[in-house]
């Protein structure tokens, strides 16, 4: 479930990156690297688990599935936080800088 949610997030962030304006002010590339990196790594994990459990791998207990889904959503939330922090630090439009300057003037 975690792998599935991360792959969906990776595909969506790649589509957003592809349809972005050329200047890429939103820094969506960060999300692509995070989600694709994690998806590929969890894919390997899934292959090893499948080799061990065989068909049983596709019949997880409902409680395990719920926990995995919760983990997947938490991973997406964490990646989004990393992305927002990166965006604010890079500050491509200078909005943070402008806001701080205005605060100093007051």
């Amino acid at each position: 479930m975690t792998l599935l949610l991360t792959v969906f997030a990776a595909v969506i962030s790649t589509v957003v990156w592809y349809t972005r304006p050329v200047d890429n002010k939103l820094c969506t590339g960060v999300l692509c690297w995070l989600f694709w990196g994690a998806s590929l790594m969890w894919l390997v994990d899934a292959v090893f688990e499948y080799a061990e459990l065989k068909a049983e791998y596709f019949n997880p207990a409902p409680l395990d599935m719920l926990n995995d889904a919760f983990l997947g959503l938490s991973v997406i939330a964490l990646a989004l936080v990393v992305w927002v922090v990166t965006l604010l630090i890079k500050d491509p439009d200078g909005k943070v800088k402008a806001a701080l300057k205005n605060k100093n003037k007051k």
């Binding site: 975690t2 991360t6 960060v30 690297w33 995070l34 989600f35 694709w36 990196g37 994690a38 998806s39 590929l40 790594m41 969890w42 894919l43 390997v44 994990d45 292959v47 090893f48 983990l71 938490s74 991973v75 964490l78 990646a79 990393v82």
Partner: protein
Amino acid sequence: MACFTATVAEAVIVTVATQIIKKKENNSLSAHKFSNGNAALKSSENEKIRFSRKLMWLAKLLWGGSFLLAFEHLWHGEVVPWFPFLTAMANSESTTQMLYEIATVGVAMAVLLTAVWAVMVIVSNVIEKRKDAVETHNEESAV
């Protein structure tokens, strides 16, 4: 148990290598400019993606994946914020199991990420070569 440590190790090595190659590329670029009397580089040479940038793609992929997997290990209680940071280090039996997992799953993860990056580099090289060929063809037909 701690499979992501293999990719973290690779990420550190790749990041250091990227910085060294970047420095060398900058030095050779400035030497080239100096020898040509600051003349502009050929447009195709200018537009080509540097190898250091391509290597940075691998570093980003490795760091990104390792970061989210580290969070997963934290979630499952396999990584703790106090020494020795890995719960599998508690006894020799679980340490052996952890090392086995790093050597199998961890190395496989690192290999897959590197293979995906290699495909990305090959595709970008093919695109650059095609672009060069089109530019040369256009220049020749203009003459």
